[in-house]
Symmetry: D2
Subunit: 414 residues, 4 copies
């Protein structure tokens, strides 16, 4: 009853917690400082690679993988091993407490989503070539969907092209917010582009696997997200000029991109939201620590003005948000995406906003320190804010929730 | 997994739903109209008594009763029969959709709380005299705690006195917001007053069973709550002037009032909050019906401006609130009040505010109709608003949540 | 500079303040109690009539009248006497502090708007017959526009008919929220109805003066607004069945209703908003009085939790709202309605919401007392809430503001 | 009447507007790009120096200077030349539309505040040495008040010391958020430190003029404010180790720091707030441009969901905030700081929050672009967010407003 994790998940949660406390937290500050001080912050640090090796060795690796319903046992996603969404959720929450952790455990976006896509939709060859090294952590990947020149909140606006030309696909256009493309190990781009403008609205686009080294692929620049470049992963603007790859690099088939994207959405949003809940929880902890140890006007900060009420409101908001995400995970597990469509959009609206507000409160309690990088709050804020746009802006998700709500009342048009 | 009700609860939920749809909803409007038109709106209508008789006959009666841990099998609260908080919660939600339903099913506050108190803390004699007719629906009761002359949000402020004088208790003082006291069948008042001002802060007060007909008891007036008198139950201001009852009418013993009150709180707040969730859900339904059937500026209302976003936000808010209440019910069932103290206060803050906002939105979508009594929305709003003060104002509950949160960080004083 | 009133206005403000303090406030509570206790609360009390007589004698009467630009000197609206919107605004604020005051000074809606309409658009005969007794306070009037069967937020939806038939007009249909129609002195209804469905959208409707005693006029019922009937004025639902009045009762001419309504809007909304600011200011004062004189947990309420912050926020919100209304009044005075269209809608959105929030805060600080009628807060809340729908819902006014904002950027369609 | 600027101010406003449109806006983007691309972003660009020279030549220079009440005519602050707060306010709003403009016109914080301090409180020698080159734009200055080790929201917490030792002052301690200290021309630090811990709470601290080149002064690091370093001005953490300067460098006298700080506050906060209003106004314009030119789901963005309502709310919020700041400026001009204490704190609470919300809305309408630096929105957001802490956190200012509000009701202690 309730949303308690299985005993296997419980054991993993305990080990992830230990790892965070003993391996990551003690050196996290140093790593961030080292990145900032580095001549080239886009080179991953050896200390970071060491952490990955330790996590892998302890089996705290690729925990995001779902139970295998697709015969992917050889990739570690056997039904014995894969965790349900509900079981993985608390692990995602824990990894969200640290900006390093998702990478340390090979559980970071967009690689997780890309691996899921390959797992579910990739051919044997595609899996062998790309999924294996991704699962191994040997390479990184990016997802090239959003475009600078159109309102990409309406994904059918996407204008970059993927034209089948004999046994090749020719790719042209410009993408941005290709997260991870700044990393030197990023070797795979999953590109989504327009193939058949005359097909049904949701059958026009194709997903193609594009090796980053293909001629015509150019990372034009790396973009700051609310002033942060998020090195060494980064967010890129990428141009594709007459890029040619074999037609065998198409995922599933031409015009199938939306179908594939659908399958990627549910768990990905649960992961994002659970990580944000971890971040909000961490921020509340920092607020409590600061508020109980600093003094102004003769009292601990926490006893001034409305600070206690804000702490209570933060607790209430976090708890409500977590339950909604767990419920969504549970629905995904038991009813599939079709049974959780509204909820997946609900969490995407509720959680980033909640996190942004909780973090804002924590910043305020930290005074000037909260604005600096001496605490992870400024970075946390950025992360929550960006998620109100990434993966669909709040407004689009509210539209989805409303549409489903209204469908009970009317044969309603849009 | 999740918060699904047991199969027994599921079956009861279905029957309550049917009863609401077939027995209550078709005549609800008429009953409210009849009350408003009555010469004496404080006389319960025969139609209402008929509904009670039907519900009782169908076994949809006293469903709020907890599983018996106290040997109260003879009162229907056998472990086979009593529902857990988690199982009763969806029934409470259903009854909250109608202002009549809680009374029809003998599941209305404050009688439920009073019956629970008698069940847990009453002597055999007290149970026989008062609990039996209450369970039977033959009489009604009120709870006399809040006082007009002190800030009762701090319950230790209570100044009305219950002085033990030999084998009698002498009661003096003034109470208000004694809900239910306007009903002609109200025969029992549970009075809470100061007995020993020198005892520990939480051991000064005593609970006494006071027959309403005792000399010196006077209902001074009936109070409107945000302009509604809520006939035929009402909220009374009651004066006690040298009221004498046998010392045997004391519950448990002198100075034990806070201890008893504690035990009454958890389930009572879950009930209140679940009923409000039912009310919010009903209000959202009304908003959707109105919004899809009325037209302005050439479109259904729901397609104007931010209306769809507001509907989405309402759905998200209701779902989050419901999950938090279910989680609280689950904690009460599995860890007792001590394990759910923060959550009980969390729901008391979150749910009435959420309901008030959802109802406000629904009113706005109904235009002038929303302000009138042609829809249950104005009454719904009052109900939610009052709950932000009744049973402890939001601010006090936020204080409890913050205190618990802070206790992890500091040996903090208040 | 700034928004200081003229010296003449300053003098009137002082006298209105004195009148409120010495004549109205001391007996206001008694009057409300007397209304509630009356056998027939719809009969105005002698005490109230006495107050009107005093105010009239002191020249604190019809102060809402604008400077005469229309040769209406005989009605007291000479340019020497009429106050600008900016000068009247602080008087309106003062009258808003008391529910009686607007009536005592003959400055209450909808009579003020109706008098303005007659002043500006009435023929000499219409003025003599209706304006004179209204200015004198001998009769009351109502405005019949909103309809129960259509979304009246889109005024072009209005479906009740005013058909010219020779030298008569035939009126049919149903109106509601006809405020003031419950008063025994209400003799005039200004009816707005559809005359020519084929004309331009804003030229279809006509305003007609309908004596309440005309055969076919029936007050079907009086409506509670958020549970209050607002006796002795009330809000009525009125049916019109083959009501015939002379064509001479048409205001200006057939199809001119929207044009007339326009002229009525600006000042009326400034009045409503300034009265609400007075009500918010009064509510804040009550909150401060209660908060400094009641004690809980060993402190004055005001020093608990976030109460001081809420008081600061209320002060900031009231001040901002007042400045926006004064600026709107100033624009109306200097640039006319065309130069203040956006601002008139801005205040209509901002002020009732602000007042509702400030009053809600004050209620919360009053505990159970705030819900009762022992303080004017429950009634104040109703008044603010209703204004979020009356005279156009928030959503419609936000639409106006946005439309004007967008007009700078685009030849925008609707 | 109203808050219209004087004709002299009107003329200046027009010229500042022209300068912004023709000189700054066309090259603003390039300058920001050049700073980001520079090997050393801390070196001011020649293009920027050129702009300053042009502005100076046109007399658009030091416009922040108040009318001289202190015989400072020689510094250009003659009563003929100095602008009242109300007259300068719209100019400050204009400069707030561009991050460069305040510097171009020599009207940027903290130099303006520092110049005002020298103007009002400096000796002739101090003025000659520091004020003249500051007014000339030849040097820059910083203000060293906030400390990393104490909650500086309570300024009496300041622990860095300024000890008088014969004819010298010895300074020790650590300050941060010393804005402007990153600039190569920054030559003056105004340091505020503890001199006499036994004096009255507000007479313990001293302000000292410290040349940046004094031995013992060290800029330990430059701090990011919500991830931005704001080159080439920056925010520094500065250590002072046995720094010795002549006692003649003390402003006014030992223990007079709070007195001086007071005088600096009012106008400074009006400037900050008006600049933020300019920034909010600019952000709303960008939102409208983007919203009318981008299309999704077949409509311009502005016609989707609640976007129009959000635009209306932004307009209403900006207008209310501007009026409150203008009113505050007017009070400062007519009643001095003592007559505007509450208002100065009111704007400090209301305006940054308003600006943060409006900018957040504009970001959301820009999608991914809003997160990037392709639009000034991410930087605008940072600026508004930081102002909720800089110059006193919201919570402290709410406390001031509440204290003043309460002072009418009670001889209240804090």
């Amino acid at each position: 009853m309730g949303f308690e994790p299985s005993s296997r998940a419980q054991e993993l949660i305990g080990r992830v917690e230990d790892f965070l406390r003993t391996e990551i937290e003690p050196i996290e500050g140093e790593i961030h400082t080292a990145i900032r001080a580095a001549d080239d912050p886009w080179q991953p640090l050896p200390a970071f690679k060491d952490l990955q090796a330790k996590a892998k060795k302890q089996g705290l690796w690729n925990l995001f993988l779902p139970p295998s319903e697709h015969g992917n046992e050889q990739y570690g996603a056997s039904s014995e091993e894969g965790l349900s969404n509900l079981d993985y959720a608390p692990i995602a929450e824990l990894t969200g407490r640290s900006f390093l952790a998702p990478y340390v455990f090979n559980c970071n976006a967009p690689d997780t989503g890309n691996m899921e896509v390959l797992l579910r939709y990739g051919s044997s060859e595609q899996k062998q070539q790309w999924l294996e090294p991704l699962l191994d952590g040997a390479i990184r990947s990016a997802f090239c969907m959003t475009e600078p020149d159109v309102a990409s909140s309406d994904a059918t606006n996407m204008a970059a092209t993927a034209v089948v030309d004999g046994d090749e696909v020719v790719i042209n256009g410009r993408k941005w917010w290709s997260t991870g493309v700044g990393h030197p190990d990023c070797e795979l781009l999953i590109f989504m582009g327009l193939t058949d403008p005359d097909a049904h609205r949701y059958a026009r686009h194709t997903m193609v696997l594009v090796p980053r080294s293909t001629p015509g692929v150019k990372v034009e620049r790396l973009l700051p997200a609310m002033s942060r470049y998020d090195e060494p992963h980064g967010h890129g603007e990428v141009s594709f000029t007459d890029v040619r790859v074999p037609a065998a690099n198409i995922l599933v088939g031409p015009g199938r991109a939306f179908e594939i994207a659908q399958g990627r959405l549910g768990p990905g949003r649960v992961h994002h939201c659970m990580r944000l809940i971890g971040l909000a929880e961490k921020s509340l902890e920092l607020a409590l620590q600061r508020g109980t140890t600093r003094t102004a006007f003769g009292k601990p900060l926490v006893n001034l003005g409305g600070n206690r009420e804000r702490i209570a409101d933060a607790r209430i908001a976090i708890n409500q948000a977590r339950l909604l995400v767990l419920q969504t995970a549970y629905l995904l597990d038991t009813k599939g995406l079709a049974g959780a469509l509204s909820e997946v959009s609900q969490i995407k609206v509720a959680v980033p906003r909640m996190a942004q507000d909780v973090i804002d409160m924590a910043i305020q309690l930290h005074g000037g320190g909260g604005l600096s990088d001496d605490f992870p709050l400024a970075a946390a804020w950025t992360s929550a804010r960006a998620l109100r746009l990434a993966d669909g802006p709040d407004e689009v998700h509210r539209g989805v929730v409303a549409k489903i709500e209204l469908s009970k009342y009317t044969k309603e048009s849009k």
